[in-house]
Amino acid sequence: MLDSFLTQFWPATVDGLSLGSIYALVALGYTMVYGVLRLINFAHSEVFMVGTVAALFTLTTIGVSHELSGVALIGMLLLVAVIAIVVSGVTAMGLEYIAYRPLRKRGGSRLAALISAIGASLFLQQLFALIVIPRLFDLPQVGGRLPVHSPDWVRLSDVIAIGDFVVRNDKLLVVVAAVVMMVALDQFVNRTNLGRGIRATAQSPENAVLMGVNIDRIITATFAIGGAMAGVAAALYLMRFQETNYFVGFLLGIKAFTAAVLGGIGNLRGALVGGLVLGLIEMYGSAIFGSEWKDVVAFVVLVLVLMFRPTGILGESLQQARA
């Protein structure tokens, strides 16, 4: 058991960080919306799913016919990411506009918004399975419930290889892209006017209004940013796995939400820490006990962390993030 852990330590670390980066990016969407609205946006997993479909559609439309590497790969990834960001961001904003805003305006309870979120999530899944995916990829016969694949567009190569420590280019790209996005977002929230508005709203919506913050605008922006991060995650996911399906967001969404809670929900840096920690725990857990135990290990760790630190690893929430 332990020797299998030792022999797999480096591969598990690399894979854990790469998986965790995607968790972290999706976790941002949960954590930001929670910070501002105190609402768990369960439809966020579908924002991610929509992003993967957009990214896949971009790839098939461009018709990448051979495997890319180096600058061409990064360029293509950027293009795919930009489109996924736009589509996911717009989806998230639309979601807010249709599923949450009317409830908020009428003073609906948070529970009502939660149910609305679950409804929106199911609606989007089935919409994509029944209509969007079959139409987009011309699969009237097969339908939209089976996975759709992108052309092979990534030439895999090892960029770092020191003994057991081997890092493949796609895994490295995922981690680098995720960290860059995180830092950019952190700076954005801490240094810009809009970011200050987001923090103010998170701290106290009433006072923020009194200080002249346009809450609706802030909420829209929060959803858009969370959606954009899910779009980045979607593009990276498609680079790693080159397939998607209407249900792809479900498990990943649960894991990302777990990562957000683990790191401290409402806390941006917590999402990064929570995502990476969760990814590593899953991989180490599988290496030691076998892959069927990975969720057990991950959730035992989550319970333990929450027992001693009920607010998660980094604890504080968005409003207290240092400026």
């Binding site: 996975p147 599988s286 969720d295």
Partner: protein, 400 residues
């Protein structure tokens, strides 16, 4: 094979299936022509044979070919102007057990079928079995392979395909005999069918002294990196995966991307072009997949299967597919019974207990449990987007 993987599709599909079940239960898709049940007044007597399976659902791809084949057999028979004609009545269960039980009641009470081809999947077979038992309707399934089905003491139930125990044993022997593997990594996705076949393969291989290591993947997950790392660390001669093709393709892709070059094998759940599609590129080339079914368009195993494949191609303008031979043989068994003057369920069932005629895929003969007496396992080789028959698992050699 083929439990509907409701877990995989989650709450969403479960909810929609309930709706479908509710609609389908009272549906009228199963009512046939206007032939009176007794048929006594007609010049030629007509009896009804039912066919139940997933005809429009997500796994219908493996049921429609056998339905077509059964139809072909019955049309050939009816064209000979026999004393008793056979009408085929289709029951679209969509593979949903609740829907299948409602349709089975309808088949027995309203349509008064004298025999049933199906149900196609193991899950629905388990639910429909007791109803057919009570209604004393003989059934022959062409594709339900769960080993437990024959252990219920059902007297009217039969199948024409070898069960997963036999398949697992067959492919296990193939791995140790033809591939000469000393170290094998066995992976499954924890679904009932998948775990079942993977366990039998492990047991068989252990019996012949092969070193086994195992791991389990999450059918809903997409990142199998931890499994890939384990396989890499183990450096096996072969990898056997028990499960369906959607996950199998994904796993195969990640194994190959991760630099694992070991021979990849799987069972009938992965015998679909979708395996190659999911694996991407030419990752599936050389993968060997076993099946208790015979898909043999070139007549490699028997001239009869080439004849059937040609007839199938001519009628449906499509190449022969999974369970075509088995579907044809199921229909043949009923035809033979009826040809010999057995037109009520009880005498047909008695006849099936003694039937012993050559079929397309095997000798049509049933053990008292309802299992076929001969159960051959075949192995298929993937190349490009398709697969071809490599041979009987007992004799086939290592793929070149």
């Amino acid at each position: 094979m083929r439990y509907r993987s409701i877990v995989r599709l989650g709450v969403a599909l479960a909810a929609s299936s309930l709706v479908l079940a509710a609609c389908g239960g009272g549906g009228d898709q199963a009512t046939g022509g206007g032939a009176s049940p007794s048929g006594a007044t007609e010049a030629a007597k007509t009896v009804k044979i039912g066919l139940m399976g997933d005809l429009t659902g997500e796994n219908s791809g493996i049921v429609i070919p056998l339905r077509n084949a059964a139809k072909l057999a019955l049309e050939e028979y009816n064209a000979t102007n026999p004393a008793t004609k056979i009408e085929l009545v289709e029951y679209d269960s969509q593979g949903v057990p609740e829907q299948a039980t409602a349709l089975a009641q309808q088949a027995i009470k309203t349509d008064k079928i004298v025999g049933l081809i199906g149900p196609a999947f193991s899950g629905e077979s388990r639910q429909v079995g007791p109803i057919l038992e009570e209604g004393t309707i003989p059934s022959i399934s062409a594709s339900a392979t769960n080993p437990l089905l024959s252990q219920n003491g059902w007297k009217y139930w039969h199948r024409i395909v070898a069960n997963d125990d036999i398949q697992g044993g067959g492919v296990g022997d193939y791995i140790s005999r033809a591939l000469g593997a000393k170290k094998v990594f066995v992976i499954h996705d924890n679904q009932e069918y998948s775990k079942g076949i993977a366990d039998v393969v492990s047991k068989t291989l252990k019996g012949s002294g092969v070193n086994i290591q195992t791991d389990v993947i999450d059918p809903q997950g997409s990142d199998y990196a931890s499994t890939v790392n384990k396989v890499k660390a183990a450096a096996p001669d072969a990898v056997f995966y028990g499960g369906y093709y959607a996950q199998g393709g994904r796993l195969l892709k990640q194994l190959r991307d991760g630099g694992v070059k070991a021979q990849f094998l799987s069972g009938d759940g992965s015998l679909d072009a979708g395996l190659a599609k999911g694996a991407g590129g030419n990752n599936a080339d050389g993968a060997v997949v076993s099946c208790p079914c015979l898909i043999d368009p070139t007549g490699k195993a028997s001239p009869a299967s080439k004849k059937l494949a040609d007839a199938y191609q001519a009628k449906y303008n499509a190449p022969t597919a999974i369970y075509v031979g088995e579907g044809y043989d199921s229909a043949t068994a009923f035809i033979e019974a009826i040809k010999n003057g057995n037109t009520d369920p009880e005498s047909i069932n008695k006849y099936l207990a003694t039937i012993d005629i050559p079929g397309v895929t095997k000798q049509i003969k049933f053990a008292p449990t309802g299992e076929p007496t001969s159960g051959e396992v075949y192995v298929y080789l993937f190349k490009g987007d398709t697969y071809s028959l490599l041979g009987n698992a007992k004799e086939a050699s290592k793929p070149a």
